[in-house]
Symmetry: C2
Subunit: 363 residues, 2 copies
């Protein structure tokens, strides 16, 4: 293309120019190749793509045959230009160490077969600035929506990006979300430990703020303990994504509990199955078995809970249901955006999925 | 824009048209908005983006200020058009159940901070046709390269896609790859079990073909056994990604081994740490401890090996090194592609990373 050439081009050529630029750069079959092969003008080829009705059926067929012969592959960048659709969705997870996140990612990726969306995945490891940079890059690529499990960026800031977003198990005041009924989970855990005849009820968790869905677990647990006048203790500690660190912290917690409640039957509700498994293994390493003075309930029903050396009781999150509902909620918003006059949501939608108590061998 | 308008447009307008189409569809600030704000013509705005040197520094500054004021966000779809670069890389993994894959994915995602590439992730679960459809979709979006851990599609077929690809731990005849020195791993495992004074040396694995890197583990193990005239047995079984199924199969294998070698000290080399952990838990559930007649070595050094109830010896794959080398090899090819006259690789490059034997409490 000679930029010093004529100063005027027909609109067809403009469109052709856009497409050719795409094609040239990706070194695929160009309109020129198709024109040369079919003996039609490039303008005719352009018309085939942009206004096929202006060609006879016979000529449409000739060009269609040429595309097959030349192994012409549709270039979606061209399609993005025309439709604004990228079919890309960003997923922001905190890490892949926690079995819950790995399984949730697995289930979200599996929705590709149903919805066709492709997922740009990032594990933020609590680096807020890197997550922010990543999101802004994705936005520059016109992604259609995001599923956010990372807790670092506030829902207010996320909402300001003005694209469809669904949060899972994180603060969700200004964005849509799908969460387990955490309060019910806390109630179920305390009730199960009560049935086991525990003397002291312990819940170990991070010192969560009330805005986080997981706070419901603490509230539900405490409410049952108070209702039945059960001796209980909340232990707030920051269990991180480093195994060694968690092991050291939980080891110390066990030592403290044994000093404080030496003869009592301890019912321990752990914040998730990954950490429940660390606790279980500490006890087995110490006693060669799970002593009858300890009962353990985890949270999530991630694979580690059934694969543990003693299959562990857990408040099950319905991970496949949550993944499906999140995509459904996101897809609904993304589809709305493509309408000529989209109606924005008046309020964020929050879906609550009931937990399923799974009794195994630690209660 | 009125398509029944004049039939001729200046080339600047063509470029403007491309950009505007992008902008309009993503509902971001358009050239028209910037023109209105600055009182320049749209053509001038277009020049700012496409040929800034044709404007005075003062006018460039005015437009730059307007972009900030209008919160203009760069639209990368426009940039893809101009550069052919998408900065997207596809990752195809078999599943997220195996701890090795989850950790490898984690390490690859972490290279974002170094290389800037964004990752489109898919877990294929051995569905060859779905994987193929997924790859072809990604190609239509002009992704720049792929990292493939899934074994389903032959390297010959992958190479025919004609984009930079790096395989990890899969058949790699026609594509670049980064693999652990599997043969050395098999040698290390057998040597360690020999040091433990085992009487019978057992390796459990899938019936791998010689073209797969992991076949080296079998060969290395057998070679050491033969060199030192050690009694050995290979047990070929398809351990799947379903925990329940694997548990049943391994339980039966333990029963058979105890019938066949009741008094012998059994040294078992497992194909990976996930399955080594299943075996370990079966033995502990049966005996309350790991009997001294069993020694176990896993493969990978994925997190489960150190987090197991008895920290498990393993032939460590250097997962962070493999991830980094894979991105380095891929990035090198992707950069080459962007040159005006790229030199294609004469032959696929295969990098071999040495394993690191990690002795813990099961040997």
């Amino acid at each position: 293309m000679d930029f010093r050439g004529p100063k005027c081009y027909p609109i067809d050529f403009c469109i052709y120019f856009c497409y050719t630029l795409c094609m040239m750069k990706s070194k695929k079959v160009t309109f020129a190749d198709i024109a040369a092969y079919t003996n039609f003008s490039k303008t005719t080829i352009s018309r085939y793509f942009n206004n096929p009705d202006s060609l006879t059926l016979e000529n449409q067929q000739k060009i269609a045959d040429a595309l097959v012969a030349l192994d012409y592959k549709e270039n979606k960048v061209g399609r993005i230009l025309a439709s604004g659709k990228t079919e890309f969705v960003g997923i922001l997870i905190p890490n892949l160490y926690m079995h819950y996140y790995a399984e949730m990612l697995n289930q979200i990726l599996a929705t590709y077969e149903t919805y066709g969306y492709k997922f740009l995945v990032f594990a933020g490891h609590e680096k807020k600035d890197v997550e922010r940079k990543y999101i802004e890059e994705l936005l520059a690529y016109n992604i259609e929506g995001m599923i956010v499990l990372s807790p670092t960026i506030s829902s207010e800031e996320l909402a300001a990006y003005n694209i469809p977003i669904v949060g899972i198990e994180r603060e969700d005041r200004c964005i849509c979300s799908v969460n387990t009924d955490n309060y019910m989970g806390g109630v179920q855990a305390a009730s199960l430990l009560k049935k086991c005849g525990c003397d002291i009820f312990i819940h170990i968790n991070a010192d969560l703020s009330k805005g986080v869905p997981a706070y419901g677990r603490i509230q539900g647990f405490v409410d049952i303990c108070e209702e039945y006048h059960l001796l209980h203790e909340l232990i707030f500690t920051d269990l991180s994504s480093s195994f060694e660190e968690n092991r050291t912290k939980l080891f110390q917690i066990v030592e403290n509990l044994e000093e404080k409640y030496p003869l009592k039957k301890k019912g321990i509700f752990m914040p998730n199955d990954t950490h429940a498994n660390v606790l279980l293994n500490i006890l087995i390493q110490k006693y060669g078995e799970l002593p009858s003075t300890y009962r353990i309930v985890g949270f999530d029903n991630s694979p580690i809970s059934s694969e543990a050396v003693i299959p562990t009781s857990t408040v099950g999150q319905q991970i496949p249901v949550i993944a499906r509902e999140a995509m459904e909620l996101l897809s609904m918003q993304m589809t709305e955006r493509k309408k000529r006059k989209p109606t924005p949501l008046a309020e964020p939608i929050h879906k609550i999925i009931p937990p399923v108590l799974i009794c195994r061998e630690t209660t």
